[in-house]
Structure formats: C-alpha cells, structure tokens
C-alpha cells in the first residue's frame, strides 16, 4: 500500500515537473506595449484587496495558511 502511495507521489512530482518545464520552455519575451492583457486589474498575481477578510477567516478556520501573500500566523488571537 505504501509502495503504491510512494509511486503515486513520484508520478505526481514528475507530472508537475514536466508541466513546469514545458510551460517555462514555451516562454516568449513580451514587450511592454504587448502587456495590455497582462496588466488588466483582474490578472494580478496576488490575492486581491476584496479577498482580504476571506483570507483572514480562512487562516483562522483552517489549519493551513500561507503561500498566498497574506499573513501566516501572528497578528490576531481570533476565535
């Protein structure tokens, strides 16, 4: 059972790695004047301001937090 689980993990990692390699290898240089879509307010690569309270309550109501630009502990003893 453990062997199957480990094989599954290895397969997942290989899949993730090959996806990352294929994405990054397909990179093309985008000039500033070509970035109108990338600069759209809804294309921002971080949590948006309106999600602020959502991120807070999720970090209190769930055991996991972080890797989303928000706080990962500290700052509040909320219940």
């Amino acid at each position: 059972m453990k062997l199957i689980q480990n094989k599954g993990k290895i397969f997942f990692c290989v899949l993730l790695l090959s996806a990352a390699v294929s994405i990054f290898s397909s990179c093309t240089t985008v000039k500033e004047y070509q970035k109108n879509k990338l600069n759209d307010a809804e294309m921002t690569l971080s949590a948006r301001k309106i999600e602020k309270t959502e991120l807070n309550f999720q970090s209190y109501r769930e055991g996991a937090s972080g890797a989303n630009g928000g706080k990962t502990g500290g700052g509040c003893g909320c219940n």
């Binding site: 209190y60 109501r61 890797a67 989303n68 630009g69 500290g74 700052g75 509040c76």
Partner: protein, 398 residues
C-alpha cells in the same frame, strides 16, 4: 460599535475633502519629486458563521460569530533625485466581532464582556523601486490590538526583475511578536488569575521567510511559484479553549510551544480571448503538527464589457488532523498535548460565490475619482457542521 461607525464615516468624509482639491497639470516627461496621491482603497466586509463545535466549550456548542471589518489604505508616491520611485502606504483596519462561544468563558454570567470586542490594526509600508535596474526594496510595520491580544510586526522585502522584464524574483522576511492575555475558563481560574481585568500575559512569536518567482509566459498567461517557511514559538493555543477528557474532567487546551509550517503555492492567470480571465491557485501545506493540506481555487472573470465583469469562484480545501486533536471526551490523562478545536481536525471545505466589478473610464456613477467598485459574496461550508457567509465591498479612489 457607534465609535466604529463614526470612525468609518469620518474617514470617508476626510477622503471626500481630499478630493475637493484638484491637482495641477503635470508634464508627463517630468517626474515630480513632490509627494503624489496615488489611490485610496476602502474595504468593508460582513462575516457570519455558525456551527456546533466551539473550542471554548470543548468541541461542542454554538460557533455563532459575526465580524464587521473595515479598512482604509492610502497610497502616496514620489521620485527622488536618482529617479527612484518611493511608495508609501498607510492603512488602518477596525474589526468589531461578537462570538457566542467567547461568551462561555464564564458561563455563569448571562452575557459577559467577552461576547463582543473590537480589534484595531494600523500598518505602514514603504517601497523604493529602481525602474532602470528593475529592483525594489521595501519595509513595513504592523500593529494590532484587542482586549486579550496585542501584536507588533515588521517585514523587509526585495525583488528583482529579469533583464527582459518578464520574470521577477521576490524575497520577504516577516516577524510578529505577540502577547496573549491568559484568560482561562472561569472554573479553571486559580488565585493569581481570578481578577477581572488584571490578566497575566505570555508571548507568541512568528517568523517567516517567503521566496517567489513570477514569470510571463506569453501575452495571455503569467504564473507564479511561491514557497514559504514559517516558524512559531511561545504560547500557541488559546487559554480559554476547554478540553474534556474521557473521565469528564475539564482542562485548558495544551499545544506544543513551537510549530514549523511549509506551504508552497502555484498561481496561474490566463486571459482567454477578449472576455474571459481564468485565475487558478493551488497550495500544498505541511507542518510538524502533522497537518497536511491541499487547496485549489478557480475564478473566472467574465467581462460583460471592458469595464464591467462578473466573477464566479470556487475553492476546495482539505486537511488531515493535527496529532493533538480529539473530539469531546476522547483525550485521556496520558496525552501530553490536547485540543478539541475543530479547526485542527480532519475536514474538507467548499467555498463558492460570485463577485461583481465595475471600473468605468469616467468613474463610477460618473464621479471622476471613484475609480472602481467591487462587491463579492461567498458561502463557506465545512463537512464538520460549520458554515459561514461573507459579503465584501471594495471602493477604489484614484
């Protein structure tokens, strides 16, 4: 509550007063060294939850809670003599919450002071961007105060863009030094901690380091990989959380005095055609309390026209239980650490809803400086009998 409402109204009126002064026209080729108003953001949210696994009452009892949250931030910029852009951000947030379970810290009273509280959290941030070199450095300070919890924090950050400005590496370190008031359940108070307002305090420290890499793949797609390491030490439980053992004795939650968290996240945003934006986010999380978690969030912004969009979203979250969790009356005296806080139990959650955003070129409702208005509603549901609703409003003035 009245004070909070008056503060928010006061902030809004000062904002309107600020806009009554028109800024002089500036030549676009000249970068003024004067401090320039950039934007103001007001975010208000109303959150309401219910459930029947309150940690204060040992994993049983009402989790009813409401939270009215308001924050305002002001961003200013100026260029120095080396043509570096300095951005200053000042923010203040005020939350007012009521909690049915906090009221059970002292169940003998009909309703105690702990059933409601306010939290005030100001922060200041500064960044300096060298557009020529593609580097940014910054620092920030944060404070938060509520009746039983005080926090003071700071951060420094650095980022560097690649030569072709399509990739960016960022690093950030943060520290929070907190003080928790030791307010125990009334039946567990002894001698020194029986006073009403003279509670002892203890420390909780959180230190984190974040590394991220963002990359433009093509004209429509950009991705970001973010890894974080968080170390906490000190008093990591809450003093008013009860735990009932199998022999029906009652105890205060006991958790280890350190915790190491390692989340890693991947974000990808894709502009499909001219009207659709797909935002995807995945996070894997692991800590040394043995919580493992997967989170996936998908959002699709449908542009009704270039200035109006509708954003349905869905988020799935799954976690394993912490080693120290057990439900009501399951822990025994043999356990060194124990909690019946269901936020540390094994569960799945679903969060879904919709957002609406408008940012017309002439301003919202034709008010020139009213740059954008956004409303977002979400429903959150855990498979351990807890659910909540949240509605948020974001107003942006530019």
């Amino acid at each position: 509550m009245k004070k909070i409402c008056l503060t928010v109204v006061g902030m809004y009126l000062s904002l309107l007063a600020a806009f009554s002064q028109r800024s002089p026209n500036t030549d676009s080729s000249y970068k003024s060294r004067k401090l320039k108003f950039e934007e103001v953001n007001i975010v208000s949210s109303y959150y309401k939850q219910d459930g029947n696994h309150a940690a204060v009452t040992g994993g049983t009892g009402s989790q009813e809670l409401t939270d009215l949250s308001n924050s305002i931030d002001l961003k200013l910029t100026r260029y120095d003599k080396f043509n570096r852009k300095h951005s200053y951000s000042l923010e203040i947030g005020i939350d007012h919450y009521t909690s049915a379970s906090s009221d059970k810290i002292d169940p003998k009273t009909l309703s105690s002071a702990s059933h409601a509280d306010s939290r005030i959290y100001p922060s200041v941030n500064w960044t300096m961007e060298n557009e020529k070199k593609g580097t940014t450095i910054g620092a920030g300070l944060y404070a938060s105060t509520e009746f039983d919890y005080k926090s003071f924090g700071g951060n420094i950050n650095f980022s560097k863009k690649t030569k072709n400005r399509n990739g960016e590496f960022s690093a950030k370190v943060q520290a929070y030094l907190d003080q928790v008031s030791l307010i125990y359940p009334v039946e567990l108070r002894t001698g020194a901690n029986q006073g009403e307002h003279d509670y002892a305090t203890t420390g909780r420290n959180s230190f984190s380091g974040t590394l991220s890499w963002s990359q433009i793949i093509n004209k429509n797609l950009q991705v970001m990989l973010e890894g974080e390491i968080v170390y906490q030490n000190g008093y990591l439980g809450l003093p008013f959380n009860r735990v009932y053992f199998s022999d029906n004795s009652v105890h205060v939650e006991q958790l280890p005095s350190s915790r190491l968290k390692t989340p890693i996240g991947l974000r990808a945003n894709y502009f499909l055609g001219d009207r659709l934006i797909i935002r995807a986010w995945y996070r894997y999380y692991k800590d040394d309390w043995n919580i493992k978690s997967n989170t996936i969030q998908l959002e699709t912004s449908v542009k009704i026209n270039p200035f109006l969009s509708l954003t349905p979203f869905y988020r799935f979250y799954q976690q394993t239980a912490a080693d120290y969790f057990a439900p009501y009356q399951v822990h025994t005296v043999a356990d060194n650490y124990y909690t019946s806080n269901y936020d540390l139990s094994k569960f799945n959650s679903n969060f879904y809803g919709v957002g609406f955003r408008m940012a017309p070129p002439k301003g919202v409702f034709n008010i020139q400086h009213f740059n954008a208005l956004e409303i977002r509603y979400g429903h959150y549901q855990k498979n351990v009998n807890m659910n909540s609703n949240i509605i948020s409003l974001h107003l942006k003035f530019k």
